[in-house]
Symmetry: C2
Subunit: 311 residues, 2 copies
């Protein structure tokens, strides 16, 4: 089941870092995009994206437990982008990484089921199963309400997968809806944290954690500390570290006193954290390795200073 697999991989790698694979071809080094720059064949765009991610995954697969693919950045390149999405998933799985897709999908009953089929188990086609995109877990938006999330929860139970439900996002405007105080005296985020805990109850593994997790941004540490207590068994996916301004300390409040229970994502600050597009492949490799190792070290320090303070 997802939660135990996630926790075991975190333990094996010794850190809770997730590296975001968000393709923006114009930000990639020249040595990867040379052919795409001069060719009129859009398939070269997809090939460059796959090659870039193959290189990044080769550099990080033994150091971190998971990658997060932001599907929007693949969709923006159309079908060649979606082919690169499938390639990147296969390369990451083959390298032993947990594959998270940041899709923020949400819809009504039968449509939510179609999204669950797409990512969390496959689609029935005349008696056989077509696996579609088939990953370990996805992010889910709860805007359409309880019945729009439950098909995803069911798919997690049936197929051993996981979801991260948006509870408090990392962007400046996240409060417009999520911080609203309702007639119950609670915010929307607080209400959602309760639902995450409820949905997750029956999917708690031997690790003590549930396959129904939550997204809580690294940019609002006070809210995060409160939300953590409302869903103690949820694995929290923490975006907003690095380029969005979240720090190791603000991310660390999402961890439990056992030093577990969260994963922290960085995208741009790892994969595009180099100077000139013309840098050499060796210099690129060095920049990725250094960014990952600095992130893991900072986070582990922040988590242990927090857990030792609370012990």
């Amino acid at each position: 089941m997802f939660a135990d697999h996630m926790l075991a991989t975190i333990e094996a790698r010794g850190n809770p870092c997730v590296i975001g694979l968000d393709p923006r071809i114009e930000l990639m080094p020249d040595f990867v995009t040379r052919r795409a720059q001069t060719s009129n064949d859009v398939d070269e765009v997809g090939k460059a994206i796959s090659a870039f991610h193959e290189r990044v995954i080769g550099l990080i697969a033994k150091s971190v437990p998971a990658v997060k693919l932001q599907i929007a950045f693949y969709e923006q390149y159309g079908l060649p982008g979606m082919r690169a999405f499938v390639d990147t998933i296969q390369i990451a799985r083959a390298a032993g990484l947990v594959v998270i897709v940041d899709a923020k999908r949400n819809d009504i009953d039968s449509t939510a089921q179609a999204y669950a089929n797409a990512f969390l188990g496959g689609t029935s086609v005349f008696g056989h199963r077509l696996p579609a995109f088939d990953v370990d877990c996805i992010t889910v938006s709860p805007f359409l309400g309880r019945d729009s999330v439950e098909p995803f929860v069911k798919a997690c139970a049936e197929n051993g997968r996981g979801i991260f439900v948006l509870v408090k996002t990392s962007n400046p405007g996240s409060g417009d809806i999520q911080d609203r105080v309702t007639e119950t005296g609670n915010t929307i985020s607080t209400h959602l944290a309760g639902l995450v805990a409820e949905w997750g109850q029956t999917l708690v593994g031997d690790s003590g954690y549930s396959s129904i997790g939550a997204v809580v941004g690294a940019t609002f540490p006070a809210e995060a500390a409160m939300l953590r207590t409302l869903m103690p068994k949820a694995i929290i996916l923490v975006p907003g570290y690095g380029a969005q301004g979240g720090t190791a300390e603000s991310a660390a409040v999402n961890f439990n006193a056992d030093g577990l229970g969260a994963v922290v994502n960085a995208s741009r600050s790892v994969t595009y954290n180099f100077g000139e597009l013309g840098l050499s492949a060796d210099d690129f490799d060095e920049s990725v390795r250094r960014s990952v190792s600095e992130m893991a070290a900072s986070l582990n320090v922040a988590i242990s200073s927090r857990t030792s303070a609370s012990a």
Copy 2:
């Protein structure tokens, strides 16, 4: 610009019907899926979906103004499904239909921009534009707040496209978040209707309608009547008609006194509204033509009885 094009196409066809193209291969007639049923080649699934939609579009293109593709049902068939998605868009555009993609996308700034690139204008690739999926308009979820919708609004302004922002969805659980009364005394839906009106102000065309529209389900007519008054210039996309229980009368409350300002979607009740999977192609054609013409007639009666009552 989108709003004027939408209104002109409604006027030309004489009805505000949108036909939903939601591929579920096991519900399609045998004469379309025969090869997909026996082949092990998943590309046959995609080909059957494209062929089914080509047939449906041929039947409806001169009768209705628009089609709505629910992308979840394409994603559930993986890459072959996404190829069918692209095919279906091209066939629908070539037939002169307005193409709406029901995607309910939503994310933070740069990621929302990537989704806008994917559907509403294309992506810059080393000095040229890759059009990705390129349609007239998409549905957008507002859960992440104001800054998560504004990149879509900007893309509408720059590229003449449209969006429908989720304000009140058609599903039973839509109230879990959308009906919550906040500290302002308003519901989340009411708050969102205000934002839709605000975003739409600068994108009002000669038709008097704006390219920033809203989704309001046909299943909650009392709320719909109130929301209509809060965003008088928005085109409202009304799902929930037919299979979900919405009627012509409950859909009609979304129209203004001019008899305009909304489009009503039906999916299953048009494309899968036949008896046996083994029916003939002619009988299938007849079932689609009859469903569309009954829907258009019922809606036009309900709209005119409403507008004449209010006149």
